[in-house]
């Protein structure tokens, strides 16, 4: 006969407390190092805004994926090589953890530099973005993302300030955790992003923050609320499209383009040729008033064949995607866009409320049409 030792209530209670403590100790952590040049006379207010927005976005993500959030901010006196090194040394990462590094401030590119990514122009000593990324990768987290929003050109301290506001409107906060989990938990590896390519200056608004940080956060929010399929590749392509849309009024010499490298391969989405990014890009190019009427008409015909079924319907919403205010047949809608391009600011395609018909063309399309403020 097998006999079991008698277990007292106190023992059970202690065991439960120990179990809870061990659960807390092993909880996965989302480490965020946010570096912002908030003291800079020209860029300070913009960096302050970036810091606030990025911190809010990351907290929101960590809550969704149920990771404990640990944030280290390097601004004011901590803005420097020493502050960043100290922050990196504090990270004790486990294989299931996530590390996010964000920099907003001035950046440069030197002729001697091999990397295409910028050098962070800090108050004490400069540091290459790629070096920081390498140091963080060595911590071997599940996913490591490094994002630098700064200039990437030879002259330092010349980051352009623009008064045109980045377009951030109508973003729907959703409780759906699927997209956040797919992006942050299914990506095993690392991702390095900068807001400007080699030789380019990045842009910022004096009070509204940096253009790229804004469009990056916007693309993330739209993906969470509007997408069915998403990958880092499509999200970053969408952020790039949004960046170009917000910079379209600037001369070409002031435009900049984001770049990224990743160590993982995204799973191909079904119907990649009619993906969220491709349709959004098509609609926004169609509404570009710089193109002639003839060019817009030609593009419209090509897009209609490629993306939409012959009897497709377009639901247009103003604020809430679930309650559109108008439904238009696709050919009428496209003709209207071609003719009213100067009045349109931006389109946002809602993949989750659109449906594919036969093959890879849409039968129902839901989108937001944002008008220019007059």
């Amino acid at each position: 006969m097998i006999s079991f030792p008698r277990i007292g209530t106190r023992t059970i209670r202690m065991a439960m407390i120990m179990l809870m403590i061990s659960q807390l100790c092993t909880a996965q952590t989302f480490f965020a190092v946010l570096v912002a040049d908030t003291k800079d006379p020209s860029l300070g207010a913009s960096c302050e805004k970036d810091l606030e927005e990025m911190s809010g976005a990351l907290r929101h993500i960590s809550k969704k994926i149920e990771y404990s959030y640990q944030e280290i901010i390097c601004n004011q006196d901590k803005f420097g090589k020493g502050g960043i090194q100290e922050a990196i040394s504090k990270i004790q990462s486990k294989p299931e953890d996530l590390i996010f590094f964000y920099y907003t401030g001035h950046g440069i590119h030197t002729n001697t530099q091999k990397s295409n990514f910028p050098v962070l122009y800090l108050k004490d000593e400069s540091l290459e973005l790629e070096t920081i990324h390498r140091l963080l990768k060595e911590k071997k987290p599940r996913f490591c993302l490094t994002l630098g929003d700064c200039c990437n050109n030879i002259l330092a301290g010349t980051r352009s300030m623009r008064t045109a506001r980045p377009v951030v409107r109508g973003i729907r906060v959703t409780e759906d955790t699927r997209i956040a989990r797919k992006l942050f938990l299914e990506a095993n590896g690392d991702l390095l992003i900068s807001s400007a390519r080699k030789g380019e200056k990045a842009t910022a608004h004096p009070n509204e923050g940096s253009f790229y940080s804004n469009t990056w956060i916007q693309a993330l929010a739209y993906a969470e609320g509007h997408n069915t399929h998403v990958s880092w590749e499509t999200l970053l392509a969408d952020a790039e499209n949004r960046l170009q849309a917000s910079l379209k009024s600037l001369p070409d010499s002031l435009k900049h383009h984001s770049q990224w490298v990743s160590s993982f391969r995204d799973a191909a989405a079904p119907c990649a040729e009619a993906s969220f990014t491709e349709i959004n890009k098509f609609l926004n190019v169609l509404a570009d008033e710089k193109l002639s009427f003839a060019d817009r008409s030609r593009l419209s015909k090509l897009g209609q064949k490629g993306f939409f079924g012959p009897s497709a319907k377009v639901n247009i919403y103003l604020d809430d995607p679930e309650t559109p205010v108008e439904m238009q047949p696709i050919d009428y809608f496209l003709k209207r866009v071609v003719n009213t391009a100067p009045l349109i600011d931006e389109f946002n395609f809602v993949e989750r409320l659109s449906s594919l018909g036969n093959g890879c063309t849409y039968d129902v399309v839901t989108l937001q049409e944002i008008r220019k403020t007059r």
Binding site: F293, L318, V325, Y332, K335, R336, N339, L343
Partner: protein, 201 residues
Amino acid sequence: MTRYFASLFVLTFCLGPLFAQPVMDKKRLTEFEKLTGQRVNDLQHYISLIADKSNSIEQREQAVELAVSLFEKDHLVNGKRRSPHVQVSRRNGAVASVPVKIYFKNLMNVKFDKVEITSYDAAVVSEFEKGADGDYRATATYYQQFKGMDNKGNLIYGSRDRKDIRVTAQSAAVYAQAGKEDLKIFFGDITVRDTVPIPGF
């Protein structure tokens, strides 16, 4: 008797919602007012495109087609076919009223060498009010500047009109597949509220 109550139940609770007038709260009506504002801006833009002789015929004709689509369809009034009318101010100060299709056709063939029609202020839309027939009605006001020029660009005639558009938001089975009704915006008659000369002309 049971069958009678069962039928009544089906009619009341199942079919009723399908044919009910859409319930429009303040927020939803505000959205339709915003949409009306956008469509008024579209109309003003089409008018500019149609009048501008430097645009291709294809573009001007497309603009006519799009502009006409914003208006109510022709309907019978006292047995007579009637389409929405547009009032225009003449050079002699008189105001004439023409059917909407004729108005756009005339705009295509204005006799000046160069025509420029622009808006000189932002359009405004009044709040929608529900009529006895269940449709919602509002008035949109837009501000139109007309300049007719000779081939050297000299101004021959110019005026500024404040115009009112009668707007109807009709109940329409927009989402018939989902058994839902919603509103659809149509423009009716356009009237000239006042005409002022262009300063310096």
